[in-house]
Symmetry: C2
Subunit: 142 residues, 2 copies
């Protein structure tokens, strides 16, 4: 039988969309659909790429509190991770996430100042299934 | 040509999932997938039903700041509404939203104390399309 951690990882791996939550300057929660993480280390670290000039990056620079949510709507399952989001502009991380097609949006390549990496570090997890939910440890590997 | 308001309404009407954002007691944003609103008045008022005992209801009783997000992932379009969420436990609103099949979850019917209505009042809107976004007035009806 799968552990909650394994079930959560399976939901995450199967989704083509990640929903990112931030808190804006007026204290309102915000949600944005994004492409799945470009890189993931277990359920602890998630890396996304975005525009340095984006509203979301501005939120996280001021307030790092974040959530990442994945939903499997066919199976009525979901995973929510709470944690912190860092906006990384160093070349190591920018190059780590860079993909060839990105030149379409960032003509200057990985050095483009409007291209940056987001690193989400999960602190806690909650798993939803069949209208019930349970907390799980994001350290508690497979 | 459709106005932004009309485009936003079209995205909302076409989705079978609404993503609800709240801020928890520690200041973290949270996201939850829910069934679409049971009742909607333009882009101003959205009514959902939920459990009075739910985590989300508890968040909104303490902090009414909320967002509701709809995503059309096929067309890369999305709508985010910021506003306030009220937890309504009066019989008028509970009966207004009640549907026959709800007895499965609330055996006591619309009077079940664990059954409540959520009313979201939108204050501002943002429309996303093709990696661009624009604010729109939620009063600016069609």
């Amino acid at each position: 039988m799968q552990s909650i951690y394994q079930s959560a990882e399976r939901v995450i791996a199967g989704q083509d969309t990640a929903f990112i939550g931030s808190v804006n300057e007026d204290g309102y929660p915000t949600i944005k659909a994004m492409l799945p993480p470009r890189l993931r280390e277990g359920l602890k670290f998630f890396y996304f790429s975005t525009n340095t000039s984006s509203t979301r990056a501005a939120h996280f620079i001021k307030n790092e509190k974040a959530c990442v949510y994945f939903a499997d709507r066919q199976l009525f399952r979901g995973v929510m991770l709470l944690g912190k989001m860092e906006v990384l502009q160093d070349m190591h991380h920018k190059q780590l996430l860079w993909q060839d097609g990105d030149t379409l949006y960032y003509p200057l390549g990985a050095t483009d100042p409007d291209y940056c990496a987001l690193r989400f570090t999960a602190l806690s997890g909650r798993y939803y299934q069949d209208f019930k939910s349970v907390n799980f440890s994001i350290e508690g590997g497979a």
